[in-house]
């Protein structure tokens, strides 16, 4: 096991090891360089979390459904990326087309599910919607296992993103640097989309008052479908992006979804910038946890969540609810 830390970086491996090594790890002097490189690793991890969480947050904001199946779609994104990259013979063409196509595959799956089943449930009690997404998670998880098997697999990043460069005197993988660029790009893209385009504005309006949006003649059901598919697309994108850094396997959905939920909660439900803030807190506390006390590194982000929710029960930023 030890999968719960979906690690972005082999550097972080020590946290999986036994206590003996863990204590050895801590006894190293915590230098400024180590601090800096951990900060960068935490940031790049936060970017993956942000991409996944922003999708969840978007769905939560517009549909008001905690989509438990989000993690499964993330996992399917990773598996699809692996298959597409494999089918195209790997290499950089395979990777880039996988990065482009895998989220679309996930979006297609979510669109079918939404139109066939989910759209009939919008009038129901919230718990029923939650339950539906849980059922979806069970089904998608097993279908993934059926299709791809339980073996571990990984994608090789293209040449240009392989290897590492030296930052703060310690090696830092180029791929993580790439993530550090992609994350903000996605954030800005989402922000532009939701504040500048018409459909984005409609989606935000539906989040605030769906009756009113329906009353002025907009088909709310399709707005919801769109929001759901966009959210799932982001999950797939996150899955495709994370696939070169971890081993893609069954069970990665369980971990990411719980983290995504907590991030959404501390950020403020449905708030995209909240998802960003939450991801940064989560990623950075986790990587500093690895620096400070590797054995209990996974406790740090949870503790951070507890502290934030105790001080500010509705999250750091304004919730759309």
């Amino acid at each position: 096991m030890g999968y719960e830390l979906a690690l972005i970086n082999p550097q972080l491996e020590p946290c999986k090891l036994s206590i003996g090594q863990a204590t050895m790890e801590t006894s190293q002097a915590i230098t400024l360089a180590a601090l800096g490189s951990h900060l960068l690793v935490g940031l790049s991890r936060a970017m993956i979390l942000f991409i996944v969480t922003s999708g969840l947050s978007f769905v939560l904001g517009v549909l008001r459904v905690p989509n438990v199946a989000h993690g499964s779609l993330f996992m399917i994104g990773a598996f699809a990326a692996h298959s597409i990259a494999g089918a195209l013979g790997g290499g950089s063409i395979g990777f880039w087309s996988a990065l482009f196509l895998a989220p679309l595959v996930v979006a297609a799956i979510s669109l079918i599910t939404e139109r066939l089943l989910f759209c009939h449930l919008y009038e129901r009690e919230h718990l029923m919607l939650l339950l539906f997404t849980f059922a979806l998670m069970l089904i998608l998880g097993d279908l993934t296992k059926m299709t791809f098997g339980a073996a571990y697999r990984s994608i090789i990043a293209p040449k240009i993103l392989q290897g590492s460069i030296s930052i703060f005197g310690s090696p830092f993988p180029k791929y993580n640097l790439f993530l550090l660029i992609v994350g903000p790009v996605v954030a800005i893209g989402l922000w532009l989309f939701s504040s500048k385009t018409k459909i984005g504005k409609i989606a935000r309006a539906a989040a605030v008052d769906r009756e009113m949006v329906g009353a002025i003649g907009i088909n709310v059901s399709w707005v919801f479908a769109f929001a759901f598919v966009l959210g799932c697309f982001l999950a797939g994108l996150g899955g495709a992006l994370v696939s070169p850094t971890i081993s893609v396997t069954i069970g990665m959905d369980h971990n990411v979804i719980i983290e995504a939920f907590l991030i959404v909660t501390i950020g403020g439900l449905g708030n995209m910038w909240g998802a960003m803030v939450g991801s940064l807190i989560f990623g950075i506390t986790q990587s500093f946890g690895i620096l400070l006390w590797p054995q209990f590194a996974i406790v740090f982000p949870y503790a951070a969540v507890v502290i934030i929710l105790t001080l500010k029960p509705t999250g750091m930023l304004k919730s759309v609810w």
Binding site: V68, F132, L138, E211, I298, V306, L309
Partner: protein, 321 residues
């Protein structure tokens, strides 16, 4: 009040079922005896959750933690100390209730989804500690082969122990359900504002409800140890929490005995479908979706439709505000 209970029809049925269950181990094969014992444990857990979800209206999203705490406390005392068994068995529920109290203090300040989210993060904190603290808890492997006291070391004797203890607990829960405290809890579920207006301390009642429910979850945890003889961190994982949540919804969460049916259905599904195919969660997911569409009030809850409708109508009105 006690006399009222004895006049009820369902009591007669329960007593008959209880006596049937007393003689069944003599007739059925060992494997089925074991499955029945697992069903009792799970049913007790589901009922303890339903005290909060169905009767209290709280989004108790991470109930498995208290189950796990009960199991771990009992198991660790049995393994690590030479204390007599009854201290271990008593310590389990008490520890669960204590953790429930601490987590409850934080959670009851929040409402609905935020309540559930904070509980998930606090619960995950407990899970992460159990998962990582190799010296004490055995980490992700857990501890297996926990020595049981003489009188429940065989399967049959542990079956009877589980049957009797869970029977007593269910009777106690019924008494609580019918007590003024139980009625207050249900009133709070239906309309917290009005309850507060007539002078009920809503938060304190909810906290008390959490403590009582977590105590029973701890009992279920101890019973799990007597049946399985092992503890592992999956007992506290959030997937189990959601599964138990589903048992409540499946059986009918506005009824008292519904969760028993839900637990029976899910445990037998897992056991019997699990022997044919490894994809039993797929089947569970499909059944869940069918249930959501055609029987949203659960197996036993169909005649509570009106009640549910009035409640969700109240909820919807409040959601809109």
């Amino acid at each position: 009040m006690l006399l009222n209970i004895f006049r009820q029809k369902s009591l007669g049925v329960s007593v008959v079922i209880f006596f049937l269950l007393l003689i069944t181990p003599a007739i059925i094969p060992k494997f089925y005896t074991y499955i029945l014992a697992v069903i009792f444990v799970t049913a007790l857990l589901a009922m303890s959750l339903n005290m909060l979800v169905g009767h209290g209206g709280l989004f108790q999203f991470h109930h498995a933690v208290f189950y796990g705490v009960g199991a771990y406390t009992a198991g660790l005392i049995l393994v690590k100390t030479s204390w007599p068994w009854y201290i271990a068995f008593a310590a389990g529920p008490v520890a669960a209730a204590l953790i429930g109290f601490v987590i409850g203090i934080f959670c009851v300040r929040l409402n609905r989804l935020y309540f559930g989210m904070l509980q998930i993060s606090l619960g995950s904190l407990v899970w992460a500690i159990a998962f990582r603290w190799y010296d004490m808890t055995g980490g992700d492997d857990g501890i297996h082969g926990i020595p049981m006291p003489e009188f429940i070391s065989s399967l049959k004797s542990s079956y009877y122990f589980v049957l009797i203890v869970s029977g007593i607990c269910i009777v106690l829960m019924y008494l609580i359900y019918k007590s003024p405290f139980g009625s207050t809890l249900q009133a709070i579920r239906d309309n917290p504002e009005r309850c507060a207006a007539v002078g009920i301390n809503v938060k304190r009642h909810q906290l008390m409800g959490i403590v009582v429910a977590t105590f029973f979850a701890g009992v279920a945890g101890v019973l799990f140890v007597t049946v399985e003889g092992s503890i592992f961190p999956d007992l506290m994982f959030w997937v189990l929490s959601l599964e138990v949540f589903i048992m409540c919804l499946l059986g009918g969460w506005f009824t008292f005995g519904g969760p028993i049916l839900g637990a029976t259905a899910i445990v037998s599904l897992r056991t019997f479908v699990g022997t044919y195919t490894e994809y039993w969660t797929l089947i569970l997911g499909v059944i869940l979706i069918l249930l959501i569409f055609f029987l949203p009030d659960g197996i036993m809850g169909y005649n509570y439709r009106e009640k549910i409708r009035s409640w969700s109508a109240g909820r919807a009105v409040r959601d809109m505000k």
